[in-house]
């Protein structure tokens, strides 16, 4: 392999040629990416192990459950209602072409429970809580509060990270159920008041279509999404550097990567679950 050599400019300045600089940039970016993945894997594994090992800070868990769960309730309800309503509107327009508007309820409930409920709740909660975790922990890092905690003999992973992850997994599970219910209710309201169809038929079809594998699929996903969004939020918060600007950067990265990973993992999980439950 030939290595690039320093080129001399007209002014006598020694510089790397443009192609060498591009290679160096790609090299540095790739190394940083690999290092970040490695750090995150170690972080996520340590956080996962701590979920089952004492001491468990129950008061922190309850506090975070309140902030994450009840704090996110309003946005989850609104998102669920709107999404269910939109699904009913869109599906009714398409289904009427085939004279099948009666199955709007089936369409809305299956879509909400299998897919949209978990993913929308995950992304909405990620936007609200992954960012808040990253900024809160990031601020603690730059003001040396995390170092102070370690110096006082307390493990910040156990005290700050584990309760947030446990609370997010628990509350996202219930928030997804709320979102599913609101989605079906939103679809029902649109079906009755805007599409002028029979509400009882809508609910009958919504209920009839559901099978246990659908519900399992819809309730397994939030467990993974909760873990992803909280561990990424905490990870970026805990590795913050560069003062207040660094806190902002960590917040952005936490939201972007948690949202992207939720969507990507959703794809993988759907594949796995469809393999496990082929009758779906």
């Amino acid at each position: 392999m030939r290595y690039p050599v320093l080129a001399t400019t007209l002014t006598g300045e020694r510089r790397w040629p443009a192609n060498a600089m591009a290679i160096q940039t790609i090299d540095k970016t790739a190394k940083n990416l690999v290092l970040t993945v490695q750090d995150y894997s170690l972080f996520a594994w340590r956080a996962f192990k701590n979920l089952y090992r004492p001491p468990i800070y129950w008061s922190e868990f309850l506090l975070q459950a309140d902030i994450i769960g009840f704090g996110s309730l309003s946005i989850v309800v609104l998102t669920g209602l709107s999404t269910g309503g939109v699904l009913a509107l869109q599906s009714a327009a398409t289904l009427s072409a085939f004279g099948a508007t009666a199955i709007t309820g089936q369409f809305v409930s299956l879509t909400m429970i299998r897919e949209l409920g978990p993913i929308l709740t995950g992304v909405m909660v990620s936007g609200r809580n992954a960012s808040s975790m990253a900024s809160e922990l990031g601020s603690m890092v730059v003001t040396e509060q995390i170092d102070a905690m370690r110096a006082l003999g307390v493990d910040p992973m156990r005290k700050l990270v584990t309760p947030r992850i446990a609370a997010t997994i628990t509350m996202l599970f219930f928030l997804t159920i709320v979102s599913d219910a609101c989605g079906i209710a939103g679809g029902g309201l649109v079906t009755v008041f805007m599409n002028h169809q029979n509400g009882t038929l809508y609910l009958d079809k919504a209920w009839e279509a559901l099978r246990y594998p659908d519900i399992i699929q819809g309730l397994v996903k939030p467990l993974f999404f909760g873990y992803i969004l909280s561990s990424i939020g905490c990870f970026y918060g805990m590795r913050t550097s560069g003062g207040t600007q660094g806190v902002g950067r960590s917040t952005i990265e936490a939201v972007v990567w948690s949202s992207v990973l939720i969507i990507f993992v959703d794809f993988l999980l759907t594949q796995v679950l469809l393999t496990l439950f082929p009758a779906l």
């Binding site: 603690m140 003001t143 040396e144 509060q145 170092d147 102070a148 905690m149 370690r150 110096a151 006082l152 003999g153 307390v154 493990d155």
Partner: protein
């Protein structure tokens, strides 16, 4: 201990005092962060009852050295002993128990801003599930020591910079630590508040005789520490008679990551090292 150089082995200190095993010891410690070394081959020790003042201008690695002392950072090379145990490669879980035996005062206080002064000072006691009545009593004692008893229910955001630093000192003192680490405790404070903080450190040194490592770039603070003692009868810091200094207070000096001086105040002022001379003058 046997492979530690003579400078960090138990034995006569520059001040002439006999010492037992050091509370903390550095042996050829080096560390770098994406660039030239921040610390290079640093070796020294802190003996029981000794106060070591680490001098040096900003950016020479003083705070890094302090964080290495209780395992908040890991050295690239060399060995560090804390309470006789090597912490260089000690797992984080084991380090927490050792760190709990030290008290650290951070540069800006590093108080937990979501907790009240009471909960900040009592942080370790709360983790140990000490009864509330006992916590309240000990927190009031610690706050009385730093003359801030009235701040018991306040939050850090309502305190001045000097008050925050004093609360941080109370937090470090409350568990009667076996080693105190002060990271520029007077940095950014006005002269009057700085004197108050130095008085607290002198009081702690002379009342509890806790070994300590203090980093500062302020020569006047280092000299005040060495030239004063706490008078329990008057309840305040008083100067030593002319020509006398505190024998347990000794000095270290860093220049660009290297330890260039280790000795008493007398040796410091007599030093012919150009950097030391420039710093003193």
């Amino acid at each position: 201990m046997s492979d530690f150089p003579a400078s960090v082995q138990p034995g006569p200190r520059p001040s002439g005092q006999e010492t037992a095993d050091p509370v903390a010891a550095f042996c050829n410690v080096s560390i770098a962060f994406d660039g030239p070394p921040v610390l290079e081959n640093v070796s020294f020790s802190v003996a029981p009852g000794e106060t070591r003042v680490l001098l040096g201008p900003a950016g020479v690695g003083k705070s890094v050295l302090l964080k290495l002392a209780n395992g908040l950072l890991r050295p690239d090379e060399g060995r560090i002993l804390l309470f006789g145990e090597e912490i260089t490669h000690m797992p984080e879980e084991q380090l927490f128990a050792l760190r709990a035996r030290t008290g650290m005062v951070f540069q800006e206080g590093a108080l937990f801003d979501s907790l009240s002064v009471r909960d900040n000072v009592a942080y370790q006691l709360i983790q140990q599930q000490v009864p509330d009545s006992e916590i309240d009593r000990r927190v009031r004692d610690a706050l009385r020591f730093v003359e801030l008893e009235e701040t018991f229910d306040l939050f850090p955001s309502s305190l001045s910079g000097g008050m925050r630093r004093r609360v941080a000192i109370a937090r470090a003192f409350i568990q009667s630590p076996e080693l105190l680490l002060y990271d520029s405790p007077t940095g950014g404070l006005d002269p009057v508040t700085s004197t108050t903080i130095i008085e607290l450190i002198v009081k702690e040194r002379d009342v509890s005789h806790t070994p300590s490592l203090l980093v500062t770039h302020r020569l006047q603070d280092a000299l005040a520490l060495c030239n004063h003692r706490f008078d329990p009868e008057q309840g305040r810091m008083v100067p030593f008679p002319k020509g006398e200094t505190d024998p347990s207070t000794t000095f270290l000096m860093l220049e660009e990551g290297r330890l260039i001086f280790d000795g008493s105040l007398h040796e410091l002022v007599k030093s012919q090292n150009p950097f030391v001379r420039e710093f003193l003058e």
